[in-house]
Symmetry: C2
């Protein structure tokens, strides 16, 4: 998917909501456990009920990998279901991968070509030759971890490196990479005050913002300091939407939660 197509969807739906498909067999409604593939059935129901309210879905790959072969089959069915039925939606493999050269290319092929995700999240620690193999794929997007929303982010990301915070060094270095126009960035919502600093370095890039809702970030702040002319934001919510109910009405309740966020977004976009 091109960035223009993503922006068009955001304007059409008046939403920059991304729904995190962090599907956990211990948290999904128990009546689904009778199904042959409960993970996929849960995702399918959530997608069918919420696709008109969001512009992106983001399965965190750890949740699927944790179930082994069964989990990978469910992931594969989920991405195929999305691409077949809702091709207008942007898809993010939240994999946080990163390796060198040819090995990175293998991860890129797995997510971009075989599974046909639009984007994948990548850790920056190994630098240029671990990121560029992902950037080489046309109309695919590499979402680099910049400033994450967890406590451990303080360990390294905001420490001073060559006179500036490491996450800024990551941003500034990454824009020198080949095909850097294919970069987006993960920026934790709980650090909304950092957003204006970040926008000075990367005014035009899309930011994937986790941590609104359960992790406590403010949507208003994120929009105020993070939005650009083409909105440039994907705000993710996972648990707050997909686990809104454990009963048979879980999909409707998920849609209700998603609608609340979409309404706030619509208001902010006006």
């Amino acid at each position: 998917m091109t960035t223009e197509e993503l922006v068009a969807q955001i304007r059409l739906k008046k939403s920059f909501l991304c729904i995190g498909l962090d599907t956990d067999l211990e948290k999904i409604p128990s009546h689904l456990l009778k199904e042959e593939d409960p993970i996929f059935e849960f995702n399918k129901a959530i997608i069918d009920a919420t696709h008109h309210l969001c512009v992106a879905y983001k399965p965190n790959i750890a949740f699927y990998e944790a179930y082994g072969i069964k989990g990978w089959i469910a992931l594969d069915k989920t991405i195929k279901y999305l691409n077949t039925n809702y091709p207008e939606l942007f898809t993010i493999a939240d994999a946080k991968r990163g390796d060198i050269g040819n090995t990175s290319t293998r991860y890129a092929k797995a997510f971009f070509e075989d599974m046909e995700f639009d984007s994948v999240t990548i850790a920056p620690y190994m630098g240029k030759d671990s990121v560029e193999p992902f950037l080489a794929f046309k109309n695919k997007h590499t979402i680099l971890l910049a400033l994450t929303s967890n406590k451990g982010a303080y360990d390294f990301q905001i420490k001073l490196i060559s006179g500036k915070e490491l996450y800024k060094e990551v941003l500034e270095t990454s824009i020198t990479y080949e095909n850097s126009e294919n970069l987006m960035y993960v920026v934790g919502a709980t650090k909304a005050t950092f957003l204006s600093e970040i926008r000075k370095i990367i005014p035009n890039s899309f930011l994937l913002v986790p941590g609104v809702g359960a992790q406590g970030g403010s949507l208003e702040d994120v929009y105020k300091y993070g939005a650009n002319k083409q909105i440039g934001l994907l705000v993710n919510s996972s648990r707050g939407i997909i686990y809104a109910s454990k009963d048979e009405d879980f999909a409707q309740k998920a849609a209700k939660s998603a609608l609340q966020l979409q309404k706030q977004m619509k208001k902010l976009m006006h």
Copy 2:
């Protein structure tokens, strides 16, 4: 596996060789492609031919993930084959994972419990709460990326953070993590001169050293500057061993290559 058991194997075999199972369908002997599971058959033959010369095997997960479900099945069969037939060998899932809290726990369970690897490689960028979930597993080892052997390592890892290089900050911070005795570190062999600096910070930890052979590092330097009282090294070779031949004798040729390295190691250990 305990560290003591690993050290005992190293002394017994006079080897600190780790063989990288970076199995690529385009590089394995063509006669294997007729098999139902060529990846596993290749791994099995390599393992049977080399297990007495090395102390560890390290599949790079990207190579398996790239083949989708089929790749995960081959990986699963490979680790089961190792654990059943050669339980004395240390196994490393070279996955370079990293996520927050509960999500990291899912990756940890996938590799430590479901697949029963002894260790997994982890990226440090997200800090403490992305690493500690792995460290919580008893007799399992978390191998943190410190100083990698690729060019991109210069992007961030050796830049000064709070007055010292980022990789040193990673080392120093990581030893304050809970259960840090379960940490090992990835240190690129092509940076052998950095090893004495690293040993000042982590004198007792095991180092996983890629980049000897194809990537140009010197085994002598690695041993001279990196070995400690319990050797404390796992030196990895992948392509130089597993692709020593593309003919029917590939496994014997792999053993021959492994033997050359093991002989050098034996000499160094005397």
